[in-house]
């Protein structure tokens, strides 16, 4: 650092960072320098202004949920080969997985890769054991969201969300124009969706 030690000490003194003997020795000299004293007071005043205006600490919204999500993310970020069970184990237990269960999963996976007529990915073989309930969070305290593992998909039901005004019209949806172009150029029945 190409800083003169005295200038560095001055900078520290201006910020009230000097302590002990350094402070004592430097202060004796600095107090004879009105400019330095004034500068230190200006800095103190500025700090007082900004620190009383911008918070140094502010609880995040939904603090309990904040912690829950952090801890859940940690528990789920255990080595990828180890699934997290839907039941809620102690966090440290969720990191462990019996070797036999892992071997069983590996075998199921290998068997799955050997079959070729499955319409679904092979993960279906062990989906019930490894499906993880997602974290569902509704920022608006009025809306409630309930997740359920459906038969062919996942479903989240929102309750309490404001209805869309009936006056809202979606007839100009661009997707429709695209579909009409397909219909008109292909000259065939509408593409199933």
């Amino acid at each position: 650092m190409n800083t003169n030690p005295d200038e560095a000490k001055l900078a520290l003194w201006l910020e009230d960072e000097l302590q002990g003997e350094d402070l004592a020795s430097f202060e004796a000299w600095a107090l004879t320098q009105p400019e330095h004293i004034a500068a230190r007071e200006e800095i103190r005043a500025w700090k007082k202004t900004i620190s009383s205006t911008l918070p140094a600490s502010e609880e995040p919204p939904f603090p309990d949920f904040f912690n829950s999500k952090v801890l859940q993310a940690i528990s789920q970020s255990a080595p990828a080969a180890e699934p997290v069970k839907v039941a809620k184990p102690a966090f440290w237990k969720s990191w462990l997985m019996p070797a036999s269960a892992f071997a069983g999963m590996a075998l199921a996976f290998w068997v799955g890769t050997k079959t070729h007529d499955q319409p679904q990915p092979q993960v279906v073989h062990h989906a019930p054991e490894v499906e993880i309930q997602p974290v569902v969070y509704t920022p608006d305290g009025v809306v409630n969201a309930v997740w359920t593992a459906g038969t062919g998909s996942s479903v989240i039901v929102l309750e309490g969300v404001n209805p869309i005004p009936d006056s809202t019209d979606f007839s100009e949806t661009a997707y429709l124009d695209h579909e009409r172009e397909i219909d008109s150029t292909a000259g065939r029945e509408s593409v199933p969706h």
Binding site: T3, V135, I156, I164
Partner: protein, 171 residues
């Protein structure tokens, strides 16, 4: 010149070279690792024509999938809109299935690299320009996430989020 300015003039020579920024380089995070298809269905037990006369019934396959879910059983389903957007390796992206309307927006981002058997995503659903739902989901194959959403014209909107087939994302 204020006291402050005069004092800090002394430190002009302290100005050191700022740490150099990362040199410009190709960002692998911008690579697409998949595609996400977001659809909006209109589901109603009443008259489906209330949605408008331009919308088509959903396919048999889609109808069967919707009816298999207890909470999503309605008499009629129409497809209101669809959007397919790339899933980036390290960046978020948005889908706007009812474009030009921004009544329904979906923001999504890959949490980790997908495997052949799962695509972990962070997803946000925005309705009427408000963030309504945030969730982390794991998309597997063609299994969508359905969200039973707001009421509209006597029915409800169902938002579907799924992996788009690579071969024909518009299917």
């Amino acid at each position: 010149m204020t006291h402050l300015s005069r004092i800090f003039f002394l430190f002009a020579f302290l100005a050191a070279l700022l740490p150099g920024r990362m040199s410009a380089q190709e960002d692998p995070g911008k690579g697409a690792i998949g595609q996400i298809a977001v659809r909006v269905f209109y589901a109603t037990d009443g008259d489906p024509s209330l949605a408008g006369d331009k919308f088509k019934k959903v396919s048999d396959k889609t109808e069967k999938l919707l009816r298999s879910e207890t909470r999503l059983v309605f008499k009629n389903y129409l497809l209101l809109g669809k959007d397919v957007q790339p899933l980036f390796r390290s960046y978020e992206n948005w889908a706007q299935p009812l474009k030009p309307s921004d009544e329904v927006l979906v923001r999504f981002e890959a949490r980790t690299l997908p495997t052949p058997h799962s695509t972990p995503l962070d997803v946000e659903l925005w309705l009427s320009r408000k963030k309504i739902l945030k969730t982390d989901i794991n998309l597997v194959g063609e299994k969508p996430l359905f969200v039973l959403g707001p009421q509209w014209r006597g029915g409800r909107l169902i938002i579907s989020i799924a992996l788009a087939p690579k071969e024909n994302p518009d299917s």
